[in-house]
């Protein structure tokens, strides 16, 4: 795998160490995950040891070394959402899709992820699907919501 526009992704940031996480994130948004080949290529381009990039990619939760689904569902597990029963929402999504948090459905349609807090506590429980926020969720709303994305 060759990342054609790696130079563009890196931009002016170069090998400034404070920007490494950001660069990896931009690569991830390009592919939906972090392919090992891309990390290797980045390591060669920036002259940063592969082991260092790999340690960042595995330490921080934002990165996935596995391919993720077409639709990424991120359910907020912040305290405000928790007291408004977000665990029940995750359970229901998990039950309907047959995957646990962090997993992708076999048809690669959905990846279910949880996040510590999205900072939209007023709308709890909240889930974000492909960047769109869905607030005041109930277990009952889950089915229709998933159906909507299945069709897309």
């Amino acid at each position: 795998m060759q990342l054609e526009n790696l130079e563009n992704v890196i931009g002016e940031r170069g090998s400034d160490s404070s920007q490494l996480i950001g660069i990896l994130q931009d690569i991830q948004s390009e592919y939906n995950y972090l392919p090992l080949a891309a990390i290797m290529q980045l390591s060669e381009t920036l002259k940063v040891p592969f082991s260092r990039l790999y340690s960042i990619a595995t330490f921080f939760k934002a990165f996935s070394l596995e391919p993720r689904g077409k639709h990424i569902i991120t359910v907020c597990m912040g305290t405000a959402c928790h007291v408004r029963k977000s665990p029940r929402i995750v359970d229901e999504i998990s039950r309907s899709l047959g995957v646990k948090g962090g997993e992708t459905t076999p048809d690669r349609l959905f990846t279910l992820e949880t996040v510590n807090c999205l900072g939209t506590c007023a709308l709890g429980p909240v889930a974000v699907i492909d960047g769109k926020y869905y607030g005041n969720l109930t277990v009952r709303k889950v089915g229709a919501l998933l159906k909507k994305y299945e069709k897309e």
């Binding site: 920007q19 960042i56 939760k61 934002a62 405000a80 007291v83 939209t120």
Partner: protein, 618 residues
């Protein structure tokens, strides 16, 4: 081409030019475009306004602006009409045409869009009369509704960057530090360390370069004030950093932002570009010879990176693990050089102190805590949102006065402050004045300002379990007490919640908790047992119910509850049976239904669906 601002006079002239462009009598529509309101469709509302003013031929008479977060997130999308100050809440794109026709042209109020006080049932037209706003002291947040975060001129119109100009052109670094010390400002990120003292130590530490960092890695679940500040008023944070960097002698700065806050990243980036154009960043700022560059670094979703030494390690391009701080980061931090890190809200307080003077700043607050504090008032509360209160305001005033109390007539059970490092305060402490010292005294802490309200349907054992589960994932694994201790405490709590609690569990939890507190390397581990220990202290009877009686009084722990239909309340509509994913509910039409316990997966969907409220967990 924007002109470069070289002096206070230049800046004042610019402010006058900007103010002259706006007519105070002109109708101004301000739409909150914070993340909360965006999630409620604010962007569509803004589009609708922009189209509709043209359609109605009002574009010359009305000024429309998408602004930073107003704070009343529960009621988004928020639209405020000036000069009157009328607040319309939960506005949808369909309402826009009517707002322009009725309110802007005919000067009539639209009743259905007004806020209804949940306590009195009264409709309130003006923002300033709504208790949620009226009872706050919005010295920091108050600017947000007047500012388009993407336009630096809006901030300058309100006197922005005058504090930086004054500090750099008229004060010595020592004088700036003295002023901040005198103000009594303490770090808003959690610990409450005196800011001026931190700056002074950093300035006096030897090194060939120094750094300033803005910590916007707001990781505490349930807290989002830093996000709203950086999103809504990024220049106030930048201005604070410029003043701080000058005082400390730092020429490089970083804003470390969570990746979960894309809008904050974007707005901060634009703010840096615009400030650089005016010459507030870069070389020879305000002709003082001082230079500063600020970069944005994005985090990677690790809670531990809110800890200063971990954050700095991560900035160095390494996994964010903390180190023991017998040498403080102000002496040796980023790249082993003196580094001063403050939180977003702390930086935003700095211009205020320089503008008004320490003496004026000190007038708000308590003996040990000066100024205001922004809380994110969330959970089981009527008026969810961001609340700015003077330090020392009693908890009761925040929860009931500003927050409007607990919804659906439920009873308040606890207030959780300080995130995973904080504690749960029982209802009996409702008159506690909220400041750094008072909260620490009762076993909680201020933290970054998350304030999560819990009602009778919140299980406190589950809350303790929730935080430990959170911390188990977030412990970096470097030191044993934190890595293993959290896991063991969680295992016991999991057992208790599954109905397998044993005699002696509570004592063992206390013992492990105290050990982890005393022996962990950094503050994450040191404070990790706080939620557990405070719930044990104040809600011991709930632990007894779980361990001895195998009951969850709040009806939360799945293994300890059974869903049943109250026959006398069931009208046999069959809605529950239709939604049950496991076909566990049966019954004849118009006759009471029943749930088959063996089939029930306790998802709760039936109880959500039942209009008669006949289904309960016990």
């Amino acid at each position: 081409m924007t002109m470069r601002i070289e002096s206070i006079q230049d800046l004042e002239k610019l402010q006058k030019t900007i103010l002259a462009r706006t007519d105070p009598e002109k109708a101004r529509i301000r739409i909150c475009a914070g993340t909360g309101c965006r999630a409620c469709g604010a962007e569509e509302v803004i589009d609708a306004f922009n189209k509709e003013v043209v359609a109605q031929g009002l574009d010359a008479d009305v000024e429309i602006k998408a602004t930073g977060c107003h704070g009343f997130c529960e009621r988004g999308a928020l639209v405020v009409l000036y000069p009157e100050g009328i607040l319309y809440q939960m506005v949808k794109p369909e309402d826009v045409q009517e707002i322009l026709k009725k309110t802007i042209v005919d000067k009539e109020l639209i009743e259905r869009l007004l806020y209804v006080d949940p306590v009195t049932g009264e409709r309130i037209a003006y923002e300033k009369d709504i208790p949620f706003y009226k009872r706050q002291r919005r010295t920091i947040l108050g600017m947000n509704p007047s500012i388009d975060p993407e336009d630096i001129d809006d901030y300058i119109a309100l006197g922005g960057y005058l504090a930086a100009a004054k500090a750099l052109a008229e004060m010595t670094p020592e004088e700036v530090i003295a002023e901040v010390k005198e103000s009594g400002l303490r770090g808003r990120g959690g610990g409450g360390f005196p800011t001026g003292l931190k700056w002074e130590t950093c300035r006096n530490s030897p090194g060939d370069a120094r750094y300033v960092i803005c910590n916007a890695d707001e990781g505490d679940p349930g807290a989002y004030m830093d996000r709203s500040l950086l999103e809504g008023n990024p220049h106030s944070v930048l201005e604070g950093m410029i003043i701080g960097a000058y005082a400390i002698g730092a020429n490089e700065g970083y804003i470390y932002v969570r990746n979960e806050y894309p809008l904050a990243v974007e707005n901060a980036k634009k703010a840096i570009e615009q400030a650089t154009k005016y010459g507030f960043l870069g070389r020879d700022i305000f002709s003082s010879g001082f230079e500063l560059d600020v970069k944005i670094a994005r985090g990677g979703g690790a809670f531990i990176c809110g800890e200063s030494s971990a954050l700095m390690t991560s900035l160095e391009g390494k996994p964010g693990r903390p180190r023991a701080k017998y040498i403080h980061t102000v002496e040796r931090g980023l790249y082993d050089r003196p580094t001063n890190l403050n939180n977003v809200e702390t930086w935003a307080n700095v211009p205020l102190i320089i503008n008004k003077g320490a003496a004026s700043y000190r007038q708000t607050g308590t003996e040990g805590s000066k100024g205001t504090k922004i809380f994110s008032l969330v959970g089981k509360i009527n008026n969810t949102g961001l609340v700015e209160a003077p330090m020392g305001m009693p908890l009761r005033e925040i929860v009931y006065g500003i927050g409007g109390g607990v919804p659906s007539g439920k009873k308040l059970k606890a207030v959780q402050t300080g995130g995973p490092s904080g504690g749960c305060l029982p209802e009996s402490m409702i008159d506690l004045p909220v400041d750094f010292d008072q909260l620490t005294k009762v076993g909680a802490m201020m933290g970054s300002g998350g304030m999560i309200i819990m009602d009778e349907n919140t299980c406190m054992v589950d809350v303790a379990r929730y935080f430990l589960n959170f911390l188990k994932d977030e412990s970096c694994g470097k030191c044993l007490p934190c890595r293993e201790g959290i896991k063991r405490m969680l295992e016991i709590l999991n057992r208790i919640c599954e109905g397998k609690g044993e005699e002696g569990d509570v004592e063992l939890l206390k013992e492990i908790g105290h050990t982890v507190q005393e022996t962990s390397l950094c503050a994450l581990g040191g404070s990790a047992p706080n939620p557990l220990l405070t719930t044990l202290k104040y809600f011991g009877e709930e632990y007894v119910a779980h361990v001895r009686d195998k009951k969850c009084p709040a009806g939360i722990c799945k293994d300890l509850i059974i869903y049943t239909i109250r026959e006398e309340q069931c009208n046999g509509c069959g809605a529950c049976a239709k939604v049950c994913p496991n076909h566990a509910i049966s019954g004849e039409k118009k006759k009471p239904h029943r749930i088959e316990p063996a089939k029930c997966i306790k998802c709760g969907i039936c109880s959500e669906t039942c209009r008669q409220q006949a289904i309960a967990a016990a």
